[in-house]
Amino acid sequence: MVFSCPEFLFFFLPIFLIIYFIAPYRLKNLTLLIASLIFYAWGEPVYVVLLIFSSVVDYTNGRLIEKFGKNKRLRKLFLILSIVINLSLLGVFKYAGFIGENLRIFMPDIKVTALPLPIGISFFTFQTMSYSIDVYRGKIKAEKSFLCFMTYVCMFPQLIAGPIVRFSDISSELHKRAPSFEDFYCGITRFMNGLFKKVLIADELGLLWSVIKGSEYSSLPALTAWLGAVSFTLQLYFDFSGYADMAVGLGRIMGFHYCENFNHPLAAVSVTDFWRRWHMSLSEWFRDYVYIPLGGNRCSVQRHIFNILAVWCLTGIWHGASWNFALWGLYYGVLLVCEKYIWGKSLKKLPSPFAHLYALFIIVVGFAIFDIEGLENILGYFGAMFSGSSLFDKSTLYYIVNYGRVLTAAVIFSAPLYGAYEKMKNGLSSPGKKALALLVEWGLRCFLFAAVIASLISRSYSPFLYFRF
């Protein structure tokens, strides 16, 4: 199930919330857990086993790591066990088909059939790994209540598309959280904003990108190719950050404060800056559990360059079992190294509009690598972008006319406007003005919500982009 489908909005969510708020305090986690298992099992029941397995393994490992606190070798053993099991889950269910396919180049007899990808596996394995590592490092205490731990692993808001929530962030809320109207209000607001981003902007832009992506690249005019890459960049941002908003909002309704996953990445002024703003929970994960243990930047230049490249290749591969993701990661790795050692200083002196353009150029080109499969196709698309057969044609103009307003809205809303509005609203001194602002805001929200329902009922199906990861 995804958040932007009628089943979820009109059945799962209201029924769940009613039961959740009625349930006595000590049963709230259990209610949330059962609902999460149903949510996960919807459409693919078999893999619930995986989720339960993962919870049991990491719960046990966490307890054992703590129990043998004084025995360094045993502690390490259980940590390694946890990491090996989690990585094997990923290996078998996510990468087996890909590895097999590539091995076949050398050993044609090998037969590996790719299993269907369990939804959200990249997210929950990373969450449980961070838990084991943090227990090992002594950053957190191992969770004693299996119910609490399993609720953390399976909690449906962030289960299938992040953010990758650390146990330390919400462990106290797992045990004790007082429902408040403020949380409910903030949660609903956030959820609805995310829903609008996903349904009214990302899905619309997706239509444009799927047309351009599906056309013949050799005859694609340059402007159309750029329009396609830009619309995919915006689509992915609105899709993924919309989903994150919905996840954070749903958590908040129940009293959880998840970490943020995005901070206006398209307003970045450099590649380094972009990665501090894009999919933050993932880059922080790699920073804390891979980059710093490898030595981070406190080592020789060669080693530092290696560390950056290794981490970004892994980041790329994390997004999916396919070469274009690895290439995308490597692309960023190389650019980050260049910013660190070659043009970083001159970049800082650049007037900010140019720095924005520089960053956007890299981001847009990067997402073309991200979404176009196969090196040949990527090169074909770049051919169109940088030396298209023509500058534009009738279709280009039609795309601009037809999607102009959506694209404009997307560009405007990818700037940090909403935060500025909230600030302005909270700064209003007169209660009357504040009330008026809220009235307008909620009137607009109800209207957009009606448009969302209309859109969801009219179309057949629109899965989330981040389902593959």
């Binding site: 459409g43 609805m192 909620w442 009922i457």
Partner: protein, 368 residues
């Protein structure tokens, strides 16, 4: 927190009310507006749950039976048009003067289709085989559409068909492109009867007959509330319907639907005028084969029409000239049309298709 923050309850109430309405409302089996059966509640069993069939079934069940479904589809169209500023929705362009016009995709199957036509033609050495391709509203009303629409020209595609076809072509390109509002419906993908009548003015001479003048017929407006297939795609609730005309002749006909031996005596079926699907007033919707005898026809000749639904409102004009007409719907006619034509010694064969759907028509592949 301000009291006004309680406003966030409103969307929650909207959700609960729609959920309640969904549960309480009686469920329909058939949607007249969309002309299809709606999905029924999926079967619950361990197998259907395990393979996802159950959850997919629930998903389409909810969408199909959602309260105020048609109104929401209409709202979506309006939102896309007026808020998002789009020029199309669901494959339909928003054109000027209240026209809604279906998009035309680049054809993929031209060679295969012409090949079928040519094989039919060569298997019928004793008959004259004519091909008549009808351009659709998108070609006639280019001026009502945004200047930059990328749809290819149907006229070029017709040219290609005519060059490759080995029989005779009846060319309607000059006939229907005069931008007259008499030619095509605003809310349906068919031509109007008056458009078909104009085409008849070209088709009859090509078949060797003098076309009858308009005055010969009693032109009747049979309904003024026709909102056709395009309307179903956009569902904007406040659009007014349009009229359907019938050009009625005084001569008698005997119409045999399918294998029936008991004739009907009219080419028209008024009971459809009370339903949504009013175009089926002409020749009673879908039949695999229809035999039409016209005892008072001008000639003793016979005609086989292999066609899509555009022909349904054209056939009445041709019954004035042919003693007997067979109308084939090759989607449903399972025997060989060419052997039927040979065995019955039919003089003329007319292939009649509209340009918008010929490329994807399921019957056109079964012509030969």
């Amino acid at each position: 927190m301000s009291h006004m923050n309680r406003l966030c309850i409103i969307p929650c109430c909207i959700v609960l009310m729609l959920t309640a309405a969904f549960v309480a409302a009686p469920k329909k089996d058939f949607s007249e507006n969309e002309n299809r059966y709606l999905s029924s509640f999926p079967e619950i069993s361990p197998e259907t749950i395990a393979d996802g069939e159950f959850s997919d079934g629930i998903s389409s069940y909810i969408r199909d039976h959602f309260p105020f479904r048609d109104a929401f589809v209409g709202l979506n169209t309006c939102f896309e048009r007026y808020i998002l500023g789009k020029k199309e929705s669901g494959g339909v362009y928003f054109a000027k003067d209240g026209y809604y016009i279906e998009k035309y995709d680049k054809p993929q199957n031209t060679d295969a289709i012409v090949d079928g036509f040519n094989r039919l033609k060569s298997s019928l050495p004793d008959s004259q085989v004519y091909m008549c391709l009808v351009p659709t509203a998108i070609e006639a009303y280019r001026d009502k559409l945004p200047k930059v629409i990328p749809d290819p020209s149907q006229l070029d595609v017709i040219e290609e068909y005519q060059n490759k076809f080995s029989g005779k072509s009846i060319d309607l390109r000059e006939t229907l492109l005069d931008d007259s509002e008499e030619n095509y419906y605003r809310l349906d993908h068919h031509w109007k009867t008056s458009g078909a009548f104009k085409a008849y003015g070209v088709i009859a001479p090509a078949l060797g007959f003098e076309p009858l003048p308009k005055e010969y017929f009693d032109v009747e407006t049979v309904t003024e509330d026709f909102r056709g297939t395009i309307f179903s795609k956009i569902d904007i609730p406040f659009l007014s319907g349009e009229s359907i005309e019938a050009y009625i002749s005084k001569k008698s006909v005997n119409v045999y639907y399918d294998e029936s031996t008991k004739p009907e005596h009219s080419l028209y079926n008024p009971e459809y005028l009370k339903k949504k699907d009013k175009y089926s007033y002409f020749l009673d919707n879908i039949h695999s084969v229809i035999k039409i005898d016209s005892p008072e026809a001008e000639s003793e000749r016979s005609l086989a029409i292999i066609k899509d639904s555009y022909a349904n409102c054209l056939v009445p004009f041709l019954t004035e000239h042919y003693r007997r007409i067979y109308v084939f719907d090759t989607r449903y006619y399972k025997d060989s049309v060419s052997s039927f034509i040979r065995e019955n010694g039919i003089d003329d064969v007319l292939l009649l298709y509209n340009m918008n759907t010929i490329d994807t028509d399921l019957g056109v592949r079964a012509v030969y």
